[in-house]
């Protein structure tokens, strides 16, 4: 019973740092580590400016994933963990970041990160993560004023998208684009359940649907699902999408179409929003600590 073993869901891991900056002169070097159910990111900030980050898959051991992500972010920066003044852990594995000074939920972090990434005008943030979607309202400081999470079913999440890419043998990075390459929009798949979407997709393919058409149907089903989440919390401009799915044009375009609103775009990588927020909290908390000590 051999099966196709090529893993189309496996997206590329990467790290980055800003050569033009010199962290040595910094007053506060803060870090945020976002250990999600699917991916982990580490962000290093220098006086509140993004300096370095990494993005990789979460293994079955969070502490280990946190360490890996961090050391990879610090790669070739000349910095080590000891240079970092304060670290905040967030995400699903937030309490399992061994070197973190404290943990803050990804909900608060995405709001604060989004505030930096999209500017203080952003009021509604949709985080489409690995296994759940969060609709967040925040104020001009990036403080959460209200939020909603999807139910106990992972349908229409990043994880679901991976399973789907795998099933259709389409590299995950290409899913969005090719789903848009259809003459007319097909009806959304009725079941976005990670498992049943599979059998539904298979039968659609058997009925002679093209892969692109099936992808389109799945992407619109995913978009549709989060729309109801957003409608429940109420749309407030400006609107931004963070998390992995934000990179999926297929879902985003359909989402914008259904909501009849265009989401803000950012020069930052949407997957590190949580980690950025965590790093910003880390900076604030460090400064508070200093004040305390000063007194």
């Amino acid at each position: 019973m051999s099966e196709n073993t090529k893993e189309f869901w496996r997206w590329k891991e990467y790290n980055w740092h800003d050569e033009t900056m010199d962290p040595k002169v910094a007053e506060t070097i803060s870090a945020g580590v976002d250990v999600g159910s699917v991916s982990s990111q580490a962000v290093v900030m220098v006086d509140g400016r993004l300096y370095a980050y990494s993005n990789m898959r979460t293994g079955s051991d969070s502490p280990d994933s946190a360490r890996k992500a961090m050391s990879w972010a610090l790669e070739n920066t000349g910095l080590t963990l000891d240079n970092i003044h304060y670290t905040v852990g967030t995400g699903y594995g937030r309490v399992n970041v061994p070197f973190a000074d404290r943990a803050i939920t990804e909900i608060a972090c995405h709001a604060r990160g989004g505030n930096l990434m999209y500017g203080p005008t952003v009021r509604t943030i949709l985080d489409m993560g690995g296994q759940d979607c969060k609709a967040i309202h925040c104020d001009e400081k990036g403080k959460v004023t209200n939020f909603l999470m999807n139910d106990k079913c992972a349908a229409g999440t990043g994880r679901g998208m991976e399973v789907f890419a795998d099933l259709l043998a389409v590299p995950i990075e290409e899913v969005g684009e090719s789903s848009l390459d259809v003459e007319e929009e097909p009806p959304p798949v009725s079941s976005t359940c990670v498992v049943f979407a599979k059998s539904e997709a298979s039968s659609l393919l058997r009925e002679g649907w093209s892969k692109k058409r099936v992808l389109a149907a799945y992407c619109s089903a995913m978009a549709h699902r989060v729309v109801s989440l957003l409608e429940r919390i109420g749309m407030e401009k400006d609107f931004a999408i963070t998390g992995g799915i934000a990179k999926n044009a297929g879902v985003v375009t359909r989402l914008e179409r259904e909501l009849d609103i265009t989401s803000l775009k950012s020069k930052y990588d949407t997957q590190i929003a949580g980690a950025i927020g965590a790093a910003l909290f880390a900076k604030t908390l460090m400064e508070k600590q200093r004040k305390k000590v000063a007194k």
Binding site: Y92, I104, A108, V144, M149, D151, K152, T284
Partner: protein, 374 residues
């Protein structure tokens, strides 16, 4: 200090068996907080409300369609597994269709030599409900007399009503202490206290309450009170949940649950007609949503509790599929929010995936700004 209550809560079956050994009486199972316990005590019986077991189960599928609330299935499951084999009778006081199925399936499949369905009116807001209900209570009285062979005199009813009233009065006193800036008891302790009063003989329960009250007044907890929370919604005796909530920087200071304040909030007023007095007490108590129409009388009561207990936020707890509460959640949320009380909505199942609820509660507390992070 609440050790005895916890002991009762965790070993409820042992307690019931001991009670049976000590008293010449029977145990009657109740499924709803509307059961007229005055009549049951007067008949020399011990009312035991079946609460959640919070264990996954695989025995109710043939009996109750899975779209009905996990609580009603959990209750039936315990019966089918023989956990309550010492229960000789069962009684359901009319409330929701969910528990009604638990009752009818219990009657069909679990041996018991007595069962009674009490047609409590759902429209408690019409004056006609009063005479109607006292009429129905008279049927309970006669039926219990027939089953137990014991005459239920007005005197016995009076005594039973006073016994129940004292239990209510004492628990109210404990609740009042939670209004203090730093309550001398946790929400968990309060929850276990009320929950145990559903199956512990009121005599014992009252004695224990009287014992702890003096020290409780001067008790200091070595923990941060943190965010003052109210929990509102369907049946909820999920101690694991409250424990989790209170372990991350908050204290539950009040509730509106049928397993909490709603059960004991109001007293029987004595006017000389004991049957009517008992009937009126249940007609007038803080209602279950399924009995709260045309007017909404539940909402002002909830708002009042939020004010009196000075809560920072409210967690709305919904047993999955519980229609009565689902019908109240949306307007209730609007009411609380418009009065400046942030709300967090959570859906409950038999077992609660702690991780998924924890992040919501943590984020909610961050939102309430218990700690300044900006």
């Amino acid at each position: 200090m609440f050790a005895k209550f916890f002991d009762w809560y965790e070993n409820r079956h042992d307690y019931a068996r001991e009670w049976l050994a000590k008293n010449d009486g029977k145990v009657i199972g109740c499924f709803c907080s509307y059961s007229p316990e005055e009549l049951i005590y007067a008949a020399g019986l011990l009312p035991v409300r079946v609460l959640g077991s919070h264990e996954p189960q695989d025995v109710t599928e043939p009996h109750i369609f899975s779209m009905f609330c996990p609580f009603c299935r959990d209750v039936l499951a315990q019966g089918l597994k023989g956990r309550y084999d010492y229960m000789k009778g069962i009684m359901l006081t009319q409330s929701c269709l969910h528990l009604r199925q638990t009752f009818t399936s219990w009657r069909n499949h679990i041996p018991a030599d007595y069962s009674f369905y009490l047609y409590m009116p759902n429209k408690v807001q019409t004056e006609h409900a009063r005479s109607y209900y006292s009429g129905e209570l008279t049927k309970v009285r006669m039926s219990l007399e027939e089953w137990t062979g014991r005459t239920i005199t007005d005197k016995l009813l009076q005594e039973a009503a006073e016994l129940c009233n004292e239990n209510r009065r004492l628990m109210r006193e404990v609740y009042d202490l939670r209004k203090e800036p730093d309550p001398p008891l946790t929400g968990l302790e309060a929850m276990v206290m009320v929950a145990s009063s559903f199956f512990v003989d009121k005599k014992d329960h009252n004695a224990e309450l009287r014992r702890i009250l003096p020290e409780l007044r001067s008790r200091r907890l070595d923990r941060e009170t943190g965010g003052r929370l109210m929990i509102v919604g369907s049946e909820n005796d999920d101690t694991k949940f409250v424990k989790m909530v209170e372990s991350i920087g908050s204290t539950v200071v009040v509730d509106d649950h049928c397993t909490g304040s709603r059960y004991f909030w109001n007293l029987t007023q004595f006017t000389g007609d004991i049957m009517q007095d008992i009937a009126d007490r249940y007609i007038d108590r803080p209602p279950c949503p399924t009995k709260d129409w045309e007017e909404r009388r539940r909402f002002p009561h909830i708002l009042n509790l939020a004010k009196e207990f000075n809560v920072a936020g409210v967690i709305l707890i919904q047993q999955k599929f519980c229609d009565p509460h689902e019908c109240d959640m949306v307007p209730l949320k609007e009411l609380l929010n418009s009065n400046g009380y942030p709300t967090l909505f959570l859906e409950f199942d038999v077992t609660v995936p702690a991780g998924q609820l924890r992040i919501r509660v943590e984020a909610f507390l961050e939102m309430l700004g218990v700690e300044e992070l900006f």
